[in-house]
Each structure stands twice: as structure tokens, then as C-alpha cells.
Symmetry: C2
Subunit: 311 residues, 2 copies
């Protein structure tokens, strides 16, 4: 069976070129020419499904928050400004109106906070359960669009926030890093950026592949969340905290690279600007392809699926 990435690659292969398409499939958002001197259009869709991205017991407001938040996080990954969203709600044959009201309340609250207009909606029936699909438009400054493909050997690799254990709650109430991303793009020469949805190791691989480079991560530097530490303490079958931070999905933090000479000024300015959000330098981009993790025992490769081989 194919995985999602293989399937998408297969489906989007051999698409005809189009003069208005600046960036097609394969980055956080599509980037489209709109005929404006100063900016370009960003276009993104994302769906959440009951039983996969939330459960029947999830508070409806948090479902709505997550559905829109995921798309906003992709706009953030390109340092864009979201403007308008369309919401498709595919509902089971029997549903409580109160649940749908709650979902929209969660959507609207997040939309308002980021000045996003909800410009329409559609409901349809989905026999299995609830599915929400959000389509989002935004703008990014022309010539400053930050792609996955710009990482260069010598770049320092940074990540916002703490990683791992998102399933304990963060995946339902994270705040998309829109302000942080725009601030970064305005003040520093960011070479590449992505939002963390598949896990640090997996998403870093997307940058490495798109940029044709490699990376070395410092095990001791990876910021591990309390939730990941707690899970490891409380269950002997949970992932070790570092593995959780490297491979758990849905952190919705920013992962980006920039020339290493900017690393210290960046850390200083960030601390002044966003005193409550951690920013960590976790490694560097290398010209040798592949992803390695360095700890006190030396450097070892991370495997294809993001999991660490323990010697």
C-alpha cells in the first residue's frame, strides 16, 4: 500500500504548466500569480476526519479550532497573511445541531483572532462520521515567499516551541505561528521554512529533499515538551521523550533555516519580541545529504520514517 506522500506525488505528477502557478504541489501552500506588484496569492486546503484527527468525544469548539488552525499553520509556514476561508462540513446522517454550532464557534473565534473572513460553507452528508475540510486564501509579499527548497549548507536550523506529545492536547488548541512567521520574514533572511505536522524528523526531511541538502541535529538541543516527558514517565511503553520530540506529529511549530551568522542576533530579538515562546537552534544544514543525530556517543543516521535506531 502506498503512503500519503507517494500517492500525492503520483497524482500530481505530470500536471500541465500554467502561467499563473508560481509554486504548485509539494510546498506548504500553492503560490499563485495575481497580477499585483507587491504580493502573490497563497492557496491551501486541509481536512480533519473523525476517528483520525479527533474523536467523537472531542469538544466541538476544539474540532473547529483544529480544522482552521492546520490551514493557518501552512500559511504561517510561508510567512503569509490569511484572508478568507471556505468550510465544508460533511456530517453523519444523524448529528446534533449543537455540535455543529460548537464547531463553527471554534472556527469563528480563531478566524476572528487572525482577521480571516469565513466567506461560505457547504454541508453534505458523510455516512461514516464528521469530516471538515477548510480551504484558505492568503497573501505573501512577492519576492519574499519562503519555500521549503531554500535551505543552504551552513544554515542554522531553528524550531519554535516545544516538541512531542501533542496528542495530549496541543493538537486541538495550538495557536498557529502567523505573527512569529511574518516577524521572522520581515527581520531575518529566512532561507527555508515549514510547519511541523508530520514530526520534526519527517518535516525536516521535506526541507532537505526540496533543497538537496542534509542536516545534523544536536540531540541535547531538541526542545522536548512537558507532555512528552510526562508520557514517558507515566508509561513504560511510551516513546522516550527525545523520540517523541523527533517523531510525534502535529506540533504546528515553525521549523526554519537561515545563515548561521544571524543565529545569535535572532535569538536575542526573538526573546524580546516573543518572551513566552521558546526558540531553539537545533542543528545545521550540511552539504552531505542525509539526516544525522549527534549525541554524546557520536553522530548516527535517522531512519527513513523518522524513528531513531537504538544501537
Amino acid at each position: 500500500m502506498m503512503n500519503e506522500f507517494e500517492l500525492i506525488q503520483r497524482l500530481t505528477a505530470s500536471l500541465p504548466a500554467h502561467p499563473e502557478v508560481l509554486v504548485g504541489p509539494g510546498d506548504d501552500c500553492a503560490v499563485l500569480e495575481a497580477g499585483l506588484l507587491d504580493r502573490v496569492l497563497l492557496f491551501k486546503t486541509d481536512a480533519v476526519v473523525e476517528g483520525i484527527h479527533f474523536t467523537p468525544d472531542t469538544a466541538p469548539e476544539r474540532i473547529g479550532h483544529k480544522a482552521l488552525g492546520r490551514c493557518l499553520s501552512d500559511i504561517a509556514a510561508m510567512a503569509g497573511t490569511p484572508t478568507a476561508a471556505l468550510v465544508t462540513a460533511a456530517l453523519p446522517r444523524r448529528f446534533e445541531v449543537g455540535r455543529v454550532d460548537g464547531i463553527y464557534a471554534g472556527l469563528k473565534a480563531l478566524a476572528q483572532r487572525h482577521h480571516v473572513a469565513i466567506v461560505g460553507g457547504e454541508t453534505t452528508t458523510n455516512p461514516a462520521g464528521l469530516l471538515l475540510s477548510v480551504a484558505l486564501l492568503g497573501w505573501a509579499p512577492r519576492n519574499k515567499t519562503i519555500l521549503r527548497s531554500g535551505a543552504k549548507p551552513g544554515d542554522a536550523i531553528f524550531v519554535s516551541g516545544d516538541l512531542g506529545g501533542s496528542l495530549a492536547g496541543k493538537h486541538l488548541d495550538f495557536e498557529p505561528r502567523l505573527d512569529e512567521a511574518r516577524w521572522l520574514a520581515r527581520h531575518f533572511p529566512i532561507h527555508s521554512m515549514i510547519d511541523l505536522s508530520d514530526g520534526l524528523a519527517g518535516d525536516l526531511r521535506h526541507i532537505l529533499k526540496a533543497s538537496g541538502v542534509g542536516a545534523e541535529l544536536l540531540a541535547a538541543a531538541v526542545p522536548i515538551s512537558r507532555a512528552a516527558r510526562r508520557a514517558a514517565r507515566e508509561s513504560s511503553t511510551a516513546k522516550p521523550p527525545l523520540v517523541a520530540a523527533l517523531t510525534d506529529g502535529e506540533d504546528f511549530e515553525l521549523l526554519f533555516t537561515l545563515p548561521s551568522r544571524h543565529a545569535v542576533p535572532l535569538l536575542d530579538s526573538w526573546k524580546a519580541q516573543f518572551p513566552h515562546t521558546r526558540l531553539t537552534c537545533i542543528g545545521k544544514i550540511t552539504s552531505t545529504e542525509g539526516l544525522t543525530l549527534r549525541d554524546k556517543h557520536g553522530a548516527r543516521p535517522l531512519t527513513a520514517h523518522g524513528y531513531v535506531h537504538f544501537a
Copy 2:
């Protein structure tokens, strides 16, 4: 239980105003300000679901065609030009790759014919069955956007093509009326337009409600499809052909109004331009609210759900 329209109205009520939103929920597409002198953005999503919009036996190419075609038809209803689409495929846990390839082949063929770029896709799992959601962007000339709300008393009401019986096949292989709609908008003062998805009576009601007017339809003028006539001949439980033409959904034809003095010139020019597609004047807009049907027995109201009361 609420119907779809009541639910959408409830969900999209009390949305905050936004400076970039020219037309929000309630028309065929959302219309957005893009800062361009000559044009505005159109934004639309639409989903098709297995068991509702197609069956497990439907040829995959036709599923893809329908999923994109429905969105294109909404762009047509605003006389717009579509440019870029994103496709979300929610797949059952077990699926044949060949089926998904077929769906994309149908999507791509239609997209290419109308110069639409497919700029990305997402796949996710949907335990119940296949669901496809398409998000579409397009452009419409500024100051010429054709809404549902522009119908005026005295307007002649026109419809393209033949109506009813779409389930026999047309709903899977209709060609969205993009060229026809743009031609109409360029050459005639179209007051209001909608594409037929809910059935002639239902969609005309959307125009009447948005415009605050009424209408009288001429029963003898309604263009009835062969499929609707055949169904009525072959089964005694099928709808009478006129009822099918008034109430069957998914015709994906254009329904529009314009000042009646343009009716004859329009019919002449249309015949020269689109010789293979019927265009029919089926009635007129009235200042009295409500929708009536006139036949040899006189005029009688059509009921709220589009069905004709037979005396």
C-alpha cells in the same frame, strides 16, 4: 431536522464583516477584493460523496469529472474564469490505486479543457467511503459580477439546455457552461444568474429570494430532457416529465434573467454562437413575490419544495 440551507444560514449568520469580502455566503461563489482595477477573485468549494453523488460502481473518471465540474459550474454562474484548483481526496482504508488514478484522470482532463491548474492535493482517510472536495479559484471582471440578487420585475427568464433526468447520466458528464456564461456577460446585460444544481424551481427560488421578486413560469416552455421523458415512459412511478424538469437536481445548466427587450436579439445571437445548445425563455420576473406556473388551466403556485400540486 434542519435542511442544508437552514443549517448553512445558521452557521454563516453573524459572521464579522471583512474589508476584502465583496460577496460572502449565499451566492454561487464568494467574491473577494484583490486590489486589482479590472477584476475580482472568485472562491468556491464543493464536495462529492460516495453513496450520495456517485455510487461504488461509478466509473472513476466520471467521479473526478463531476467533482471538478460542479465547482466550475459555480464559477460559470458568475460568468467567471477559473484558474486553480486544490483537490482533497478522503479515501476509504482500503482502496485501489487504479481507482484513484482514474479519478485524477477525469479531473485533469476537465481541468485542462478549461485551462485550470491543479495546484495541489491532499489525501486523508475516510472510513466510510470516498469523498472528494475541490476548492477552486477564479476571476471575474470587476463591476460585471453577476449575482443572484439582480433580477428585476419584467426580466425575461432563460435557461440553457434541457432539464430533468440528470441522474440517468448527465450529472456525471455535463460540461460546465463557462464559455456560454462569459459570452452572455460580455454581450448582454444579464441581471441575475445561477447554475442549476437543486432543480429549476428550487434554484429559481434562490434568485427570487435574493432579488426580492417573484416569477411566473410557462409550463409549455420548460425544456424537458429526453432522459426525463424516457423515465416517465418506462416507469409508472417516475415523475411526470414536467415535474422532473422543474425539480430534478444536477442539471448544471445556466438560469438567468435580463430585460425582456433583449430576449429576441439574445435568442438570435445565441443560436449563431452555440448552435448545438438550446436556450429557452421560460417565463418572466414579477414584482409580486412567489413562484407560479402557468398552463392551459391558468396560473397556480409552486410549493416550497419545488413540487407541483396537481389539482
